[in-house]
Amino acid sequence: MRFSALALMALMGAVLLWGARDLPHRGDPNSPAATHESVSIYYIENAYLDTHTPNMVTAVLADYRGFDTFGEAVVVVTAALSCLLILRMRKPGGGAEGS
């Protein structure tokens, strides 16, 4: 690879690492994501009381955040449909046209 590409990638890596110095350490129990009480702590404490499911990830995915799951299901079906439609476009009279 060329030296300029290597230098550019090294610069990008250095900028990313310099920005990562403010992120929480690995396994930090006092990180802002873990101690926000209306989101993460609520889900852990009340998932079994509200839904009788021991698995908190499933309860969050299908019940508390069910709207995001619904949107993502629509995205997956749309992608599969568009794959089929893109590859089946034919000009009438034979031949594949790619526009």
Binding site: M9, M12, G27, D28, I44, V57, L61, E72, A79, I86
Partner: protein
Amino acid sequence: MTANFLISGYPYFLITVLMVIGMYGMAMKRNLLKKIVGMTVFQTAIYLLYIQGATKIGATIPVRSAEIGTDAALYINPLPQVIVLTAIVVGVATTGVALSLLLLIQRRFGTLDETAILEELRDPA
């Protein structure tokens, strides 16, 4: 960089390496399929970035067991896992659509080389 960051922030080094590899593949390669592979590597680095922020020291998986109860400090954070689940499936769908577009480009231009395709588009021979 202080030694503290090297010891306790070691996931960020690995994630940065993956991100730089993915970005190199997306930006510097001329073959369109290699660009897609670079995009996939970059997406994997992003998933790792979200997942590694969910762990806590001394905590177990977020499946409620009767012995531990509901102490929030003993279960790892379930919310980033949900986000990454959705992101993985959407990434697969995006890769599928990108590959089918590549099939069409290959049929139309006969090549997957970016410079050849751009030349063909600028002055169609």
